[in-house]
Symmetry: C2
Subunit: 199 residues, 2 copies
DNA sequence: GCAAAAGTGTTTAAACTACACCCATGT
DNA sequence: ACATGGGTGTAGTTTAAACACTTTTGC
């Protein structure tokens, strides 16, 4: 997401702003996001802190960047500001200051995380098909995955539960919707993920 | 590592200090570490930023925490300050402010990272035996690993090169020393790690 | 019937697990 | 001799990878 701001050299910028003296970092990020987009009640995860001396002109500014995982279609952007909108990751042009660097860092982080934590499941709406999930993984990782193998691997993990519902009005066999098995997910988070690749 | 500071309620603290206005974050961390321990030329990795409003009494303090991987025996601590020393992770007592939280975060981070990046290799001296490496992994992860399987897995990765040298003066068959295959390691970092566990 | 995606099966190779076993060296 | 760790072998099982195949649905 990005915004236009006349102060920002006419370029786009990531949503952001100043933290208040008495605010927690995550609260500040959440407030700023909400002010700009209307989105609230989102779990924000700290990405990284950017502190190059010359990253901002005139004064020393340190940015603590946060990110969240949402499915774009489940959030309407309610905002007074113009030019606030969703954008495709590949089509983001030059941003102000070091915001491209921040975005790149976020993407790298996401690509790494997605490999060993089921965060992909947080990115989709409540109900989704296995192809939705596969498309998501292929998009984030930039690879092609085998349908059958992906399906088996996902289902074997026990993190998905089938809904009673199926697709309707599609020009092919209707896919069953799945949803996150929250208790299995929490269990996994608590007890840690299996030791897979040493060295 | 921790230090005693009379201002710190008599408890121990992680090494740290204040950043100067014109300093990069990593440089500041490096300088502070050097001032306290004499260690220099260490690659510091940003851990996380801690910003709870009430984490420090009296004023708002935000800490950007960094960490590094070193083998304790390869660095002599040269310092004027007293009570600066290495400590075993399990035996760290109550620290000042939220420093226990910071330490716990670092350990969690390390345990996660070590599973899918060969950072364990950075923790050991130039030359090391396979048992050294196995002990390191067992310590960090808190699990027991099979000797033969670990050895095969490590060697198959191609990240280790055998030295011509062997152990001497040990009351058992001498182990061959290994060293990091730097080019293979760099290759792996550049081209990314294999996609292992989806979902 | 055809296109398109759902969903299943199969085959082969690779990897993991859990052991048992022999080898070298200092005391 | 024996304790200690170095180092190798192997059987059984599990996963992964690649690909072919059958099923359902709208047009």
């Amino acid at each position: 997401m990005r915004q236009r701001d006349p102060r920002h050299e006419g370029k786009w910028a990531l949503p952001g702003g100043w933290i208040r003296y008495d605010e927690h970092l995550r609260s500040a990020a959440s407030r700023l996001l909400n002010e700009l987009t209307g989105i609230s009640d989102l779990y924000l995860e700290q990405l990284k802190t950017f502190g190059r001396v010359d990253r901002f002109p005139g004064e020393r500014v340190i940015t603590v960047a946060y990110y969240a995982l949402v499915s774009a279609d489940s959030y309407q952007l309610v905002t007074q500001e113009e030019d606030v909108n969703w954008h495709t990751i590949g089509e983001v042009s030059e941003l102000v200051y070091d915001h491209n660097e921040i975005l790149a860092e976020a993407l790298t982080h996401l690509r790494r995380e997605v490999r060993y934590r089921p965060i992909g499941l947080k990115l989709l709406p409540q109900k989704f098909t296995l192809l939705d999930l596969q498309n998501l993984y292929e998009a984030v990782l930039g690879v092609r995955l085998d349908k059958g193998n992906f399906r088996r691997k996902v289902l074997r993990s026990g993190l998905l539960l089938p809904c009673d519902e199926k697709q309707t009005g599609v020009a092919h066999r209707a896919a069953t919707f799945y949803r996150l098995n929250q208790s299995a997910y929490d269990e996994l988070v608590d007890h840690g993920f299996p030791v897979q690749s040493l060295v």
